[in-house]
């Protein structure tokens, strides 16, 4: 077993374990923390698949920003009493299970199918996911939209200050 495969397997097992922990923990904070762990395991998976950029974004956006939001919501809602969270075996559970089964079937179908007339991807396509390749197209082909987004962010920044600030002189 080569090192990348070994690492991939380790991260995969970690991802499954933390995902299971996320849905089985009764304590919401513990569940949220397991989700953070899950995101980090996914980051590891992306890295072994040569997608450094997606890995960095995964840490910044999901493990960083979105999880802070989740923890804030848990804090503000003050869900200390876990009794409230004990779900009734109703519609939600049935639909959830159904969706999970469908998703699993789809994944298995896609990975096991052998489409005819298709060859393996060339090695050069692996380079698409690297930060270098994305940076290069960002500052050449997509330079104009990239710069335009900065004005968009500026307008959003000014706007949110104007609308949210209590006292304006």
């Amino acid at each position: 077993m080569t090192t990348p495969v070994l690492l991939f397997s380790l991260f995969a097992i970690g991802a499954i374990a933390s995902a299971v922990l996320t849905i089985t923990r009764r304590n919401p904070v513990a569940a949220a923390m397991s989700l953070v762990g899950h995101f980090f395991m996914l980051t590891g998976l992306y890295l072994t698949l040569n997608a450094q950029f997606v890995a960095a974004v995964q840490v910044l956006v999901y493990a960083g920003a979105i999880m802070v939001l989740v923890v804030f919501v848990i804090m503000l809602l003050n869900v200390g009493n876990e009794q409230h969270l004990s779900e009734k075996p109703g519609m939600r559970k049935t639909v959830g299970t159904l969706l999970a089964v469908l998703f699993a079937a789809q994944i298995i179908g896609v990975t096991t199918a052998r489409p005819t007339g298709m060859t393996a991807l060339p090695d050069s396509s692996v380079a698409i996911g690297t930060t270098e390749a994305i940076g290069q197209s960002l500052f050449t082909t997509y330079l104009f939209p990239f710069e335009a987004v900065s004005i968009l962010l500026l307008a959003a920044l000014i706007g949110s200050v104007i609308l949210a600030k209590r006292q304006l002189s």
Binding site: T141, F144, P145, I151, A155, I158, I162
Partner: protein
């Protein structure tokens, strides 16, 4: 390198003036008058540069934007609308105690977004332009922060607008999946050649895109937000977003339509029929709803929905005559609608008072000049010759007949007749009824400049339309290769 940069000078200048320079100036100068003058100068300079660079046609930044031609014509139109609204907004906001330097920053950033839409040759740039314009509008419509109606308008506009942006971006993603490109030219050749690999995917994507744009121009069935937002927003903002915003959405639609609607494939035929139906229903719904309104701002909001329906007629077949008609109509509509809304703003009281039809009773005696100007704008909106609105409608009707959509023209004429009912109703109210209640008027201040310019423009567009159409023809749409 130098001549290449010359082409994008209008965009670069407004960009620098808004971003790097504007922020530094506003950090040190806390003088509203200076900031107002600075941004007024920025828009004027941008408009002049757009005229100067109009002949430099081409694409730039790896085919992301087009320069020269009709995009520059729209630049001039957006800057003019921005300048007129800015001048009218200053006395209005001062009176309602809502003036802040940042209002002018946001107005110029909205103009920048519109210019991006007009110059776009790539869906990504279109989307960024739409968002830049919309975000500026969301904030501007909530600018009277102590007025509950203004805040409500901003929230409503923001939530629905964000939803519409979702449709827009998802539509673009599906079109990318179906055609393999986001560039207008490549999408167009993929559609027209009937060589689409995933026609269903493209049809869903195009439908979502049309839904997103229908929201932005307030066309049926996504027009419901417009009356509420236009009524609640500060009147000076309503004047700007109901004109510039609509013109900008059309400036982005024209290049897309000129490649997608021009062929004779199956997909093209379906798209043409869809747009024609949306256009017909939009003008009927807008005009019929406007009759029932007792609030002048709401009435004008519904009528602006109808005007979006008229302008859609020019999109239907994607021909040059259709786009020329839209450009002309957008120009005339911008001046007449800004003029009408500015007068409504002058007559308005705090907390949305004095906006009912009855408040306009006897205006002809109390304020003969304002009443006369309001009548000119209303006649032009109704499409009565010899004003700008009449000639715009004529061009649109002719282009729809040329495209083989005679039934659409019949619907348009019928709905124009319906619209005369409520436009003339307001004129009759102003001249043939006795004034009642509070009759004190506030001075118009520098908004008088806006009114004077708009009036001259509306009359000039009606009397010498040949001049402006020849200008439009000499700045033709940049056809993508």
């Amino acid at each position: 390198m130098m001549p290449a940069l010359f082409q994008v000078l209008p965009l670069v200048v407004i960009w620098l003036a808004l971003g790097a320079v504007g922020i530094v100036i506003q950090a040190y100068v806390r003088n509203t008058k200076l900031v107002f003058g600075y941004y007024l100068g920025t828009l004027a300079l941008t408009a002049i540069l757009a005229v100067v660079t109009a002949g430099a046609k081409g694409t730039m930044f790896s085919g992301m934007i087009t320069t020269g031609g009709y995009a520059n014509f729209f630049d001039v139109l957006f800057c003019s609308a921005g300048i007129l609204s800015m001048i009218a907004a200053r006395p209005y906001l001062q009176r309602l105690d809502g003036e802040l330097d940042e209002f002018y920053t946001l107005l110029v950033s909205a103009v920048t977004g519109m210019m991006l839409m007009a110059h776009s040759n790539h869906m990504l740039v279109t989307f960024i332009g739409v968002e830049l314009m919309s975000i500026s509008f969301y904030v501007m419509s909530g600018f009277l922060r102590s007025d509950i109606r203004s805040v409500e308008a901003a929230l409503k506009y923001f939530l629905l607008g964000a939803f519409a942006s979702g449709f827009l971006v998802y539509g673009m993603a599906l079109i990318y999946g179906a055609t393999g490109s986001l560039e207008f030219g490549a999408i167009g050749s993929a559609v027209v050649s009937d060589a689409l690999r995933f026609p269903v995917l493209f049809a869903i994507g195009a439908t979502l895109l049309v839904i997103g744009f229908c929201f932005k121009i307030a066309a049926f069935p996504f027009h419901q937000w417009a009356p509420d937002v236009y009524e609640g927003a500060p009147t000076a903002v309503t004047a700007f977003m109901s004109t510039g915003g609509k013109a900008a959405a059309f400036s982005a639609l024209i290049p897309i339509a000129s490649v997608v609607m021009a062929g004779d494939s199956v997909v093209t035929g379906q798209m043409q029929l869809m747009v024609a139906i949306v256009s017909a229903v939009t003008m009927l719904v807008g005009n019929i709803s406007a009759i029932a309104q007792s609030n002048v701002k709401r009435m004008l909001a519904y009528s602006s929905i109808a005007h979006a329906g008229y302008m859609l007629m020019g999109i239907v077949n994607g021909t040059t005559s259709g786009s020329e008609a839209i450009v002309f109509y957008a120009t005339a509509y911008t001046f007449m609608q800004i003029g009408a809304f500015v007068i409504v703003g002058i007559l308005e009281r705090e907390e949305g008072g004095h906006l009912q039809l009855d408040d306009y009773a006897g205006l002809g005696k109390r304020q003969p000049v304002l009443a006369a100007l309001m009548s000119i704008f209303l006649f032009s909106l109704a499409g009565i010759p010899p004003l700008g609105g009449f000639f715009g409608k004529y061009l649109l009707f002719v282009s729809a007949i040329d495209a083989g959509f005679t039934w659409l023209t019949i619907v348009a004429v019928a709905s124009s007749v319906i619209s005369v009912w409520f436009y003339l109703g307001l004129v009759v109210k102003m001249y043939f009824t006795e004034p009642s209640g509070d009759t004190s008027e506030s001075p118009s201040g520098i908004a008088a400049i806006t009114l004077a310019v708009s009036t001259v423009a509306v009359i000039a567009l009606g009397i010498v339309p040949g001049w402006i159409t020849s200008v439009i023809r000499s700045w033709p749409p940049m056809l993508t290769p």
